[in-house]
């Protein structure tokens, strides 16, 4: 991913949070029409629907408010999916509140694309024992798997593997490194 795409994703993530305000939770995003909009766009394989290029084809005057909202949401949804790593607290497999909207977006995407598979790689930080951490990494991957399934993905699309503490994302023996290493990574084929 390029820096600009990441920046865009972050900006959109913020805007979604502000825009959706208190009404936007994981549950409300399961709304049927919303889901189908996402599906339609993703089936086109489009990733630049709301790319920010000011090309002549789309002008604000021809866009209805509903269309504008839908496009914005679709773009936001895609931007959410740029996030593929999810973090955990020490010795827990609890999915954090801030990860939920993103995981819902991934689940919706998987639901809309039955041919798409994903591998969930669970990791732990270096503290504690290797074998327990192997089981902990699996528990984290399983927690994400359950969340994706509850939100529309099917079991057959998801494979899990735990690496325990063996593949840290960053080296270092401090809380900041550990926090980045306690994670589940979504790897799409």
């Amino acid at each position: 991913m390029t820096f600009s795409a990441q920046t865009k994703a972050f900006a959109l993530l913020l805007s979604v949070g502000l825009f959706a305000g208190c009404s936007s939770t994981g549950e409300t995003m399961e709304d049927g029409s919303y889901g189908s909009d996402v599906a339609a766009i993703d089936q086109d394989g489009g990733s630049t629907v709301y790319g920010g290029d000011d090309q002549g084809g789309i002008s604000s005057s021809t866009l209805t408010e509903e269309e504008r909202m839908a496009a914005e949401q679709q773009a936001a949804q895609e931007a959410l999916r740029d996030i593929t790593t999810f973090y955990f607290d020490f010795d827990t497999a609890e999915i954090k509140q801030e990860a939920r909207d993103v995981l819902v977006a991934h689940a919706q995407f998987l639901a809309a694309n039955p041919g798409q598979n994903v591998r969930l790689e669970g990791h732990a930080d270096e503290r504690g024992t290797k074998e327990y951490n192997l089981a902990l990494g699996e528990r984290r991957a399983n927690a994400v798997q359950r969340f994706l399934i509850v939100n529309g993905a099917s079991r057959g699309q998801i494979e899990t593997v735990s690496y325990g503490e063996e593949k840290p994302a960053v080296m270092g023996s401090n809380e900041s490194s550990w926090a980045q290493n306690r994670r589940v990574e979504l790897v799409f084929d």
Partner: protein, 437 residues
């Protein structure tokens, strides 16, 4: 005559003693030895350089190896040869008064004789105060096996003085990690307990974990990620033949041998959650020993081979549990802190050793199984993977020195003895091999 020495260890850091005993120039990621701490109560012993008849191969002197073995145990303090007043090689040449004056309790003398492709050793151990011979033996080894002969003599000397068989002839298995062509390189290696004579048994770009010795010392079980996920292999050391014994969906991990070498305890999550199973290696039949929503892992047979120690977080965090027999209701063993894991019992049923978290640091601790008393044995942090020597006197574990992982050996009651850093990269996952008679 045999006497049992009850050593009381005072854990005082002799910071001035930081001997770099053996420096390996070998680039083959060999282990080094650093004796970092000794015990005040170490017994003074003089290992006199052996007399040599005929062509003895150059390289490490046998007496140097014996001396470093005994020193590494933390229970002995060896007199440097430069301080010896004479270099006797048989009883008639030993003047006990001299050795008493030098403060020595024991004197080991001997000689090596070459015959064809063999080295024959004759050696005698004396108690200086009693002016008595307490050990005398002849032993032989092939010319290129002088180190084995030395470790054998160390074992005999150790046993004659302490009453406990020495474990200097046993092997270590461990995993080193370095980088090669920009990729991680994991190597499963087997060496002598002093880190020498290491041999690479498996090399992989993917992690290798949890090596476990079969009771006869001929096979290793371990977890390898070489297929992209954790899979248990059994590896016959003489032939190098490997068998994939557990490759189920999910975790295949934490192998532990039964006393008869016919079955493995292991952790599988094929039914969705980490549970402990016993696999008969002949039939590959599985018996499920735990059934709980929590993580159950790191199994190990207890000293009599009937019950099983394991780690479970059924109480909310990892703790040590014991099942009297497979399938019995587990009893919780550890209560001292919120994180206790990877139990390794001794061979007598007195103690169980494990990783213990206290105030953010991970140490090795042990619990007395009779009294429930818990003792923290290490002052290092980030300690992992304790493995008890087969004579129950020593413990090896992995820890960090700076950013490197190293192995450290301590006496089983906490007196520190030596560390085994790799010449480059990390070394971890030590497993102390069995005594082979």
């Amino acid at each position: 005559m045999r006497q049992r020495i009850h050593t009381t260890w005072s854990i005082r850091i002799l910071s001035s003693i930081t001997l770099l005993l053996i420096i390996s120039a070998n680039a083959n990621a060999e282990l080094l030895i650093r004796i970092t701490e000794g015990a005040d109560s170490a017994l003074p012993i003089a290992v006199v350089p052996f007399a040599e008849n005929g062509q003895i191969p150059p390289g490490d002197k046998l007496s140097n190896v014996v001396q470093s073995d005994l020193t590494m145990s933390g229970e002995f303090r060896a007199l440097p040869p430069s301080k010896m007043l004479s270099l006797p090689s048989k009883r008639e040449e030993v003047f006990f008064r001299d050795w008493r004056m030098l403060g020595q309790r024991y004197v080991l003398v001997g000689e090596l004789t070459r015959s064809a492709d063999k080295i024959n050793a004759r050696y005698e151990l004396f108690d200086v105060n009693r002016e008595e011979r307490i050990l005398g033996e002849r032993a032989a080894a092939s010319v290129n096996n002088l180190r084995s002969l030395a470790h054998h003599i160390s074992d005999k000397v150790y046993e004659a003085i302490t009453g406990v068989p020495g474990a200097f002839s046993t092997k270590l298995a461990y995993v080193t990690l370095d980088s090669f062509n920009g990729k991680p390189r994991y190597r499963l290696q087997v060496s002598d307990v002093d880190g020498k004579r290491s041999r690479i048994r498996l090399e992989s770009e993917e992690p290798i974990l949890s090596p476990a010795w079969s009771p006869d010392g001929k096979r290793l079980a371990y977890v390898s990620f070489e297929t992209g996920k954790p899979v248990i292999f059994v590896h016959e050391l003489s032939s190098g033949n490997r068998t994939k014994v557990a490759d189920f969906p999910g975790l295949n991990s934490a192998p532990a041998w039964s006393d008869d070498g016919r079955s493995l305890l292991m952790t599988l999550s094929k039914d969705g959650n980490a549970e402990i199973y016993r696999m008969d290696l002949q039939s590959r039949q599985l018996t499920k020993l735990t059934n709980h929503w929590a993580i159950d892992t790191e199994p190990s047979w207890d000293h009599n081979g009937r019950g099983v120690f394991f780690t479970s977080d059924r109480s909310g965090g990892p703790q040590i549990y014991h099942m009297e027999k497979p399938g019995a209701e587990p009893r919780r063993i550890t209560f001292g802190s919120r994180y206790n894991a990877r139990p390794r019992p001794d061979s007598e049923g007195k103690y169980v050793y494990y990783v213990h978290q206290r105030e953010g640091s991970f140490h090795i601790a042990r619990t007395n199984l009779k009294t429930g008393e818990e003792t923290i044995l290490t002052r290092t942090q980030s300690d992992e993977s304790p493995s008890v020597s087969p004579n129950g006197r020593m413990l090896i574990y992995a820890t960090k020195q700076g950013t490197d992982s190293v192995l450290t050996v301590i006496s089983a009651d906490g007196g520190a003895a030596y560390s085994l850093p790799a010449s480059e990269g990390d070394v971890r996952e030590p497993a102390w091999g069995p005594l082979i008679r």
